[in-house]
Amino acid sequence: MEQIPILSLEAITKTFPGVKALDSVNFRLLPGEIHALVGENGAGKSTLIKIISGAYVCDRGTIFIEGKEVQINFPQNAINFGISTIYQEFTLAPHFSVAENLFLGKELPKNNFGKIQWSEVYQNATELLNRLELNDVDPHKLVKDLSVAQQRLIEIAKALVADTRILIMDEPTTCLTQNEINILFKVVRVLKNKGISIIYISHYLDEVFEICDSVTVLKDGKKIGDYQVKDVSINDLVTLMIGKDIMKSHKVNQVKKVGDEVLRVERLKSSKMKHPIDLTLRKGEILGIAGLLGSGRSEVLKAIFGADLILSGSIFVDGEKKVIRNPRDAILAGLGLLTEDKKRTGLALKLNIKENITLASLDLIGSRGIIKHKKEEDKVDHLIKKLNIKPPIPEKRVEFLSGGNQQKVVLAKWLCRNCKILLLDEPNKGIDIGAKQEVFNLIRIFVQQGGSVIMVSSELSELTEICNRILIIKEDIFVKELQDETISQKSIFANLLS
């Protein structure tokens, strides 16, 4: 017996100047299913969900909800049909409490004089959170004081307050640790059991296999096919997505000739850390730092780079003591930091590729404060080629680049500076599989040429793939060190959770 899809799209086409973002795409979402939408960056996933949620209007095609043809021209239309979207960017009001956020825009319980009955509001919020088994979230807390993971869960809870029938989740696990992802999945399953249909977008295919029932693959704006998750393998999906088999993990790091110590950090403590840390890094080494969100993994990098206020400790580069009070000192000592959130802290989005690449090297490309344009262009052209940045146009504004190319621009910024030690915070966040391999290859080339890297990642597979040595961090303390042979996802995982 054929079920009537709760949502059905037929022959959806959307063209932007110069690009067909979606080409006659069909999509069916059944009641109570979790349906994954996968594809490389630029495949058309975002465009498709924006059409469903009313952010875009399609050029051609029809949308049916429970078999009835409907028009979705504005976000409000979609909301009225019970479609909620959780975007990658947060849409909560940070200075409001959890409960206020949950019921934002909803009728609140009032007494006869119109006074809001806050105790009731908070009680409702508590009940709602309990239903999602989020007992440890205090509804009185301000949203800005919650962890990233908790904020995302609150957004999901909010969708439950609105009478949502279709929930769209765009990369919901970005920045979450495995543990947090498990909680998120639990909540998602609760929603599914309540009969809510979910469209799930993710770069991480293992998540698709863990939580989804069916999957639709998009490529270059066209639908490749619909599959039941149980009928396909990860490898099948990857092949469908990119059209060639690149799944081979490039484990191993070549010959490891790890050289002399290039960086030694002693009793370093920043204002954001609870305990001082020590670590050493050798030439040609890729040192991984594994930890859960909030374990202090990013803070360690920021402290070394002088990005947070340094309270105590010393840093030696090539055996020489360096005073690092701010990022400028760190850069002069040969360090570079690639931050977790490239859009917020890595790139000047309104500036172009060229200006971003040379941002940290203005003193190198000029003399006495005057920029030497020829020299700048030569350097930039060289790096654009070397890193295969697309489009290869120095004057292109970086806000128009894909996530992968934006990340390459940030890397190019540090290569332009000729820095010797790269501090990478989640270098593969928000970029697709192809770009991820390119970034990894660049990191490998960097260390082969005598550079050294400290890398933080919440993806255990990434750490095991590329690192020579891994430090496990918990509550600002390095609790365990794993060397070559002992590195495996299992060993890291075991140490993280123990």
């Binding site: 690009v19 930091l337 005057i370």
Partner: protein, 333 residues
């Protein structure tokens, strides 16, 4: 442009042709539009009023916009960093008073001018310290400065205008070199200097970078605090020059001179299309913005249109200019 955000590899090449614009920062279309508007205004005025294109009238437009245009140079730098400088108008008045007073109290001709420039630049420097080091919102810091300098100007002048004791000083306001009024020459020179600084120096590049993303700039090793201190000082400096010209034109320093000029200078920058959120825009646009405002005022005067209506017109133009940008931007998302 719209498709650009979700640009895929397949079309990047094709897309790139549209972007083969070597002057990304200057964004030619915008300037062209502004220039066309200006030319259109001039043609209209030339038809409507035979006096418009006379040398006397053109000089008078030049002189009348000189002070605002000069203030707008510093203001452009400040707004490019996503800041704002509300104090420039009153600093202008303050500088006039300081200069005239110094001259009457025996600092001499050069001494008086230097005193004015130093004091005005120091006002900007203080703004810079408050914004750059003290992390005060620029609106608040410069609003405070605006009140302080006006108050001090009134106190030290006793509330009366001070007549400048050197006749030669008038040259700065009313003199001519090769038939071009001196204020116009000074204005053009400062615009060229500002243009060069923004386009070809590290300081210029850092100004844009800070406006586009302050934290990314800091993490790229830019000393954001000092950069801001420099930029607000620069704004204080241009306000000083404008103050000297204004004083020279009137041959006396009025402690209340420059009231409301800060808003006109902001208007010139905004009509020119420099983004209020920083990181976008340039000084040529500001120049054209100032010319459009000056032409409008002058035109209204020639045509006998009430100054009250002028204010309405300028208000409409400011809102219109920014609204057009808004639409352009939202069509990108």
């Amino acid at each position: 442009m719209k498709g650009d955000i979700k640009i895929s590899k397949a079309n990047s090449q094709q897309e790139s042709k549209n972007f083969l614009n070597p002057f990304s920062k200057i964004s030619i279309p915008r300037q062209l539009v502004l220039l066309l508007i200006l030319i259109f205004m001039w043609i209209m005025m030339a038809i409507l009023s035979p006096r418009f294109l006379s040398v006397v009238n053109l000089s008078s437009i030049g002189i009348s916009i000189a002070t605002i245009a000069i203030l707008a140079i510093g203001q452009t730098f400040v707004i490019l960093t996503a800041g704002i400088d509300l104090s420039v108008g009153n600093v202008l008045g303050f500088v006039g008073v300081v200069t005239a007073l110094s001259m009457t109290r025996g600092l001499g001709f050069i001494g008086g001018i230097l005193a004015g420039i130093v004091v005005g630049t120091l006002c900007g420097f203080t703004n810079g310290i408050l914004v750059g080091k003290g992390k005060l919102p620029p609106f608040i810091a410069t609003l405070g400065m605006m009140g302080i300098v006006r108050g001090i100007a009134l106190i030290i002048s006793g509330g009366f205008p001070i007549i400048v004791p050197f006749e030669a000083f008038g040259f700065l306001g009313a003199g001519k070199i090769l038939k071009i009024p001196v204020p116009v020459i000074v204005t053009l020179f400062l615009f060229l200097a500002g243009f060069y600084t923004l386009k070809h120096t590290q300081i210029g590049r850092k100004t844009y970078a800070i406006g586009s993303n302050e934290e990314a700039s800091r993490l790229s090793g830019i000393n954001v605090s000092w950069q801001k201190i420099f930029i607000y000082s620069l704004s204080g400096f241009t306000a000083s020059i404008a103050g000297l010209i204004e004083t020279a034109r009137l041959f006396s320093a009025y402690p209340t001179a420059g009231s409301g000029y800060e808003l006109d200078s902001i208007a010139a920058v905004v009509i020119g299309g420099t983004s209020f959120f920083g990181g976008e825009g340039n000084i040529l646009q500001t120049f054209i913005g100032a010319l459009i405002m000056g032409t409008l005022r002058n035109g209204c005067n020639l045509l006998g249109i009430s100054p009250f209506i002028q204010q309405v017109l300028i208000g409409v133009i400011i809102i219109g200019a920014v609204y057009v940008d808004r639409i352009k931007e939202s069509s990108l998302i």
